[in-house]
């Protein structure tokens, strides 16, 4: 009587808390005696602070402290880097010197007894700058492309792609420019910092609480165990809260300087300054093919922008190595260092941008060949991952195409551009592949079985929206054989067993596998303890003669109901606890190439007069291994598709070349899709059993849900209008003239 809960469309276990407002986000943890900090952001794009006039501000009502580089404590900034930080370079040391490296860099922090007074004081603080003109455009001819020191595969090559391109019967060779995007989750970054002696508690928005703990400990030169980071809920993040940004340091600094608990919430405008962004990328794709559509050459060159002080890298070109079969492939990845803040991962980092270029180029190739774009991909379906000669652990790309094509009605499409209309509107249908690596990072988890028959599971994981609370509860309930109501899952505290960063689509695989391992461990422990307890019916049994199903122990073959964990724990008189870890078997990792794949279909309508582009529907099919909760998975896909529509048609952070300021740092001017922009979105999951990726057989979904959407939209826009747009976002002015 195992409760089969994995695979069930359970509603969110935390849904009620969220919709009733009882879920507490970082800024909700108000502390006694709390005061308010406001960051002053640099209004120069490069140079140095020439003067600070803080006397007037210090005398303003309610002002407790004005901290600038002149009076800020020198912080140790001890060495600390996790995999979420750029491998090369050094993080911004905040308020440690007079240099201004980019527009919006924090240059002061003002603390006052109320938020209003702190805001007033911050806007009254006068700083003088010796300003220089920054360089913020990666296409600026003076900007050098550098080889990223941190990337393992800046250059890859198999065969001779350049020679084969030159002789290819059919060829596409184009460049792509994708705008910088800022994450813009609904919840702003927020930190409440409170010191007690040399111990610090941070209620802080984070997708990686154990890293925030270690990072802040290193910055302040205190032992990590002295720092506690708490973040039970996240109001969206998309990657912006993976790293620990300067505002966390500033909140802790201000709390220590004032001896008060300090609350610091970034303004929407400040969310465009120091909390990362999807880097603008410049790419070239060149594809050579035979007349039958088989690829003979693929060249993918790309460069991403980064700051002067850190080399942020992402997997821009890596999918080009494995997604299709091609004997001659060359990839090159470079960085262009600018006077900007360091970018960071944004949903589908690397792949979303790289796949856009590749899939648009492939669409162009399909027109050059006169071949259906799905058929083109079918003809180049690889047997193995040709980039490292390993079999795929599972790969369902063509199944995804078949499933999605059926639901979408691809057969109704006429291939000629501008050939489909609905009334006067031009209709376009486009497709693109999506892929993302199936990662599995080391994670731990703890489980406690309690006398009332319930179980408590804890991991220092996060839930930025995919439904971690729910899916992990399902994994624990399934493994323990308990109903979900009897499992309480907690996350978001750095003193819980460590989890990896909540990103890269690896939470389900990593944390889920650790929970499964801990649930198995606790049951094994329960058996060992139960057979030694003479008050229990299983007393005296051999450990391996005891079976545990449905949350109960019994001797194998015994028809009686056996004994529940609640009975056992009550009898023992104390909870049974276990902690376990999980990571990918290195041997399996050595043998298989592990990736998710998907196919995305989009229909757009373009107004031939005024150029408005609206997505009318989208259908995606994904091969992501086992789906733990179809309802959550569909929701996650919908969110990713919406993000992809934003990337395709709306989102871009525009920098003023004169001083590097984002001119649209405002939700009225930085466009993200609104409800009216979102049509019916469908996600289908193909049956895929992958015994290799991890014990749960899950491959992750967060990133791939966005990857593929933007090229499918762009290809649909071409089909509708005959206009090939290779820059994102595609706007009205891009399609006005053909």
């Amino acid at each position: 009587m195992t409760t089969r809960v994995i695979g069930k469309p359970l509603p969110r276990v935390d849904g009620r808390a969220k919709v009733t407002g009882s879920a507490r986000y970082a800024a909700d943890f108000n502390q006694p005696g709390q005061v308010y900090a406001v960051i002053v952001s640099a209004t120069a794009g490069l140079g140095r602070i020439a003067g600070v006039d803080s006397a007037m501000v210090e005398s303003m009502p309610g002002v407790i402290a004005v901290i600038t580089h002149r009076n800020a404590p020198r912080l140790p900034y001890g060495e600390h880097k996790s995999y979420i930080d750029p491998a090369v370079g050094e993080r911004l040391h905040v308020l440690q010197d007079d240099r201004v490296r980019f527009y919006g860099q924090p240059v002061a922090i003002v603390v006052a007894d109320t938020l209003d007074r702190a805001e007033r004081a911050a806007s009254s603080l006068k700083l003088a700058y010796e300003a220089e003109r920054p360089i913020v455009d990666p296409a600026d001819p003076t900007v050098e492309a550098i080889v990223p020191e941190g990337a393992r595969h800046a250059d890859t090559s198999r065969g001779d792609a350049d020679a084969m391109l030159a002789g290819a019967p059919v060829m596409v060779d184009e460049t792509y420019d994708i705008a910088r995007e800022n994450h813009n989750p609904m919840e702003p970054h927020a930190t409440i910092a409170a010191w007690s002696g040399d111990r610090l508690t941070l209620w802080s928005k984070s997708q990686f609480v154990v890293n925030e703990q270690a990072e802040i400990a290193a910055i302040f030169g205190i032992p990590p165990e002295n720092v506690q980071v708490i973040c039970p809920f996240i109001g969206g993040a998309f990657g912006t809260s993976l790293r620990t940004w300067p505002h966390v340091t500033l909140a802790a600094m201000a709390a220590r300087q004032t001896g008060r608990a300090v609350k610091l919430v970034l303004t929407r405008k400040q969310m465009f300054f120091t909390t990362g962004h999807r880097p603008r990328t410049l790419q070239r794709i060149a594809i050579g093919a035979n007349a039958d559509g088989r690829l003979t050459s693929l060249i993918h060159e790309g460069a991403g922008e980064t700051s002067r002080y850190e080399q942020f890298t992402e997997a821009l070109t890596s999918a080009s190595g494995y997604i299709y079969s091609c004997p001659n492939v060359r990839t090159r990845y470079r960085l262009r260092q600018l006077d900007i803040g360091t970018p960071n991962h944004m949903r589908g980092p690397g792949e979303a941008s790289g796949i856009f270029a590749l899939e648009c180029a492939l669409d162009e190739l399909s027109y050059s060949l006169g071949l259906d774009p799905i058929e083109l991909r079918r003809r180049n379906e690889p047997e193995i991952d040709e980039s490292d000669n390993k079999p795929f652990s599972s790969r369902s790309l063509m199944t995804c195409y078949d499933v999605a094509a059926g639901h979408f009605g691809w057969s109704r499409r006429t291939p000629e551009p501008r050939s489909m209309r609905d009334g006067r509107l031009l209709i376009g249908m486009g497709v693109a592949s999506a892929t993302y690596p199936a990662y599995h990072a080391p994670s731990s988890a703890s489980v406690r079985l309690l006398p009332d028959g319930t179980a408590e599971v804890a991991v220092a994981a996060s839930d930025m929206g995919p439904g971690t609370y729910t899916s992990m509860t399902q994994v624990a309930a399934e493994t323990l054989g308990l109903p979900v109501e009897q499992v309480r899952f907690s996350l978001g505290r750095s003193d819980y067993p460590p989890a990896p960063s909540h990103g890269g689509s690896w939470t389900m695989a990593s944390v889920g596998s650790a929970i499964r391992a801990a649930c198995i461990a606790v049951q094994e422990k329960a058996v060992r303890q139960a057979v030694a307890d003479q008050r229990l019916t299983v007393f005296g049994g051999a450990v391996d003669a005891i079976e545990w199903t449905g949350g109960r122990l019994r001797r194998r073959g015994d028809p009686s109901p056996g004994q529940s964990y609640g009975d056992i724990v009550s009898s023992l008189g104390k909870p049974i606890e276990a902690e376990a870890s999980s990571q990918r078997d290195p041997d399996v990792a050595e043998r298989y190439s592990m990736h998710s794949f998907g196919a995305v279909f989009v229909e757009v309508a373009v107004d031939p007069d005024v150029g408005t582009i609206r997505v009318r529907r989208a259908v995606g099919a994904y091969g992501i291994g086992r789906v733990v909760n179809p309802r959550l998975a569909a929701s996650q896909c919908t969110g990713g598709m919406i993000g992809g529509i934003g990337m395709a048609l709306m989102e871009r952070t525009v920098l003023d070349p004169r001083d590097g300021r984002p001119v649209n740092a405002h939700m009225a001017d930085y466009l993200v899709p609104v409800n009216l922009d979102i049509p019916k979105l469908e996600a289908h999951f193909v049956e895929e059993v992958d015994p290799h990726v991890n014990p749960l057989g899950v491959k992750g979904l967060g990133e791939i849900a966005l990857v593929g959407m933007a090229p499918a939209v762009a290809n649909a826009v071409f089909h509708a209008t005959g206009k090939r747009v290779r820059t994102l976002p595609i706007r009205i002015e891009d399609v006005l003239t053909v």
Binding site: R120, T612, R658, V674
Partner: protein, 325 residues
């Protein structure tokens, strides 16, 4: 936000007296509060006029009268507005999200400040916010800015959709001030930036908008508002057009056209209107006439596309209006 005093006016006399002494009117507050939070607006004294009896919507001798304090949502939903002047209802729906429509008043809508990003950045020169400091948009990023009515001192577009419809419909407005009451066309409310872009309207100190008066015309019901933008809602117009047509016997007797997103004030397109008079309501005639819309336009580096988009928007709006039964 900078501290300020707030008083409530119980009648127009109190409100006007306060305003004449330097107070700023506040109704829905959707523009003013927003700008005060960013310290772009820094009033020391506010007078709340919401208690004044100016929210009525009524018809007098075929003239639709809309009180200055009527909310955008209420006006858009009003049966007389929808029946008599659908252009106004449509411009209001397109003009703001439901939350804003519930709060924003008609008078406040007409007086809303510009959406130029530099106007909202205290560390950027802006002649409108800080006279004489310079215009950041002129040499900066100005893809959304005006191609008509610009000066070397300001190129910001007027952001109101409603105002475009009212200018097309020859609406007059009634104001009350220390010197008494006067009426004038809504079109005359808006100044060109010239060399004093901080002076945006022609109201005298203390003057309070009482209502707008929309005359009935043969064109009133055959009217459409088309707003072109990159997303479907909650965005200011790249280009918009308010069009009203009087068609009889297969000929345009009279066309009323005003456009938004292109001018430093709502821009009446009289040359286009004249070119359409006597023509059949057909695309060829629309296209020929619409070309006149950009005759005097001065595009900048980033907003050249509006030279193409403006005539197309007018053509499409004319088609839509022509299709109204």
């Amino acid at each position: 936000m900078i501290p300020f005093t707030l008083e409530k006016a119980r009648n127009a006399e109190q409100a006007i007296a306060a305003a004449a002494a330097g107070a700023r009117y506040i109704a829905g507050g959707t523009t003013l509060i927003d700008l005060m939070r960013e310290e772009v607006e820094r009033p020391e004294r506010l007078v709340d006029i919401n208690a004044l009896p100016l929210a009525e919507i009524r018809v007098e001798n075929d003239v639709l009268v809309i009180g200055a304090l009527a909310r955008m949502a209420d006006v858009a939903a009003h049966p007389e507005v929808q029946a008599r002047q659908p252009l106004i209802a449509e411009s209001l729906i397109e003009g703001a999200s439901p939350q804003l429509r519930n709060m924003a008043s008609i008078g406040g809508n007409l007086l809303q400040r510009v959406r130029c990003p530099y106007f909202r950045m205290l560390d950027a020169p802006c002649n409108k916010r800080d006279p004489g400091s310079g215009c950041s948009a002129l040499d900066g990023l100005h893809a959304g800015h005006a191609i008509l009515g610009t000066s070397d001192h300001c190129i910001a577009t007027h952001p109101s959709d409603l105002a475009v419809a009212l200018v097309a419909l020859d609406v007059t407005m009634r104001v009350l001030g220390p010197q008494g009451e006067r009426s004038f066309p809504v079109e005359d409310l808006f100044r060109l930036p010239g060399n004093a872009p901080h002076l945006e309207h022609t109201l005298l100190p203390g003057e309070l908008i009482i209502d707008v008066q929309v005359p009935a015309g043969a064109y009133s019901r055959r009217a459409r508002y088309l707003k072109v933008r990159d997303r479907a809602s909650y965005e200011f117009a790249l280009v918009s057009a308010a069009v009203a047509l009087d068609i009889e016997g297969g000929q345009i007797r009279q066309a009323r056209i005003a456009t938004g997103g292109v001018g430093t004030r709502p821009w009446r397109m009289r040359a286009v209107e004249e070119a359409l008079a006597g023509k059949p309501p057909q695309r060829q005639a629309f296209e020929a006439a619409a070309q006149l819309a950009v005759r005097e336009a001065r595009p900048l580096r980033d907003n050249h596309y509006k030279m193409e988009l403006l005539p197309r928007t007018i053509v499409r709006a004319l088609e839509l209006a022509g299709e109204v039964a």
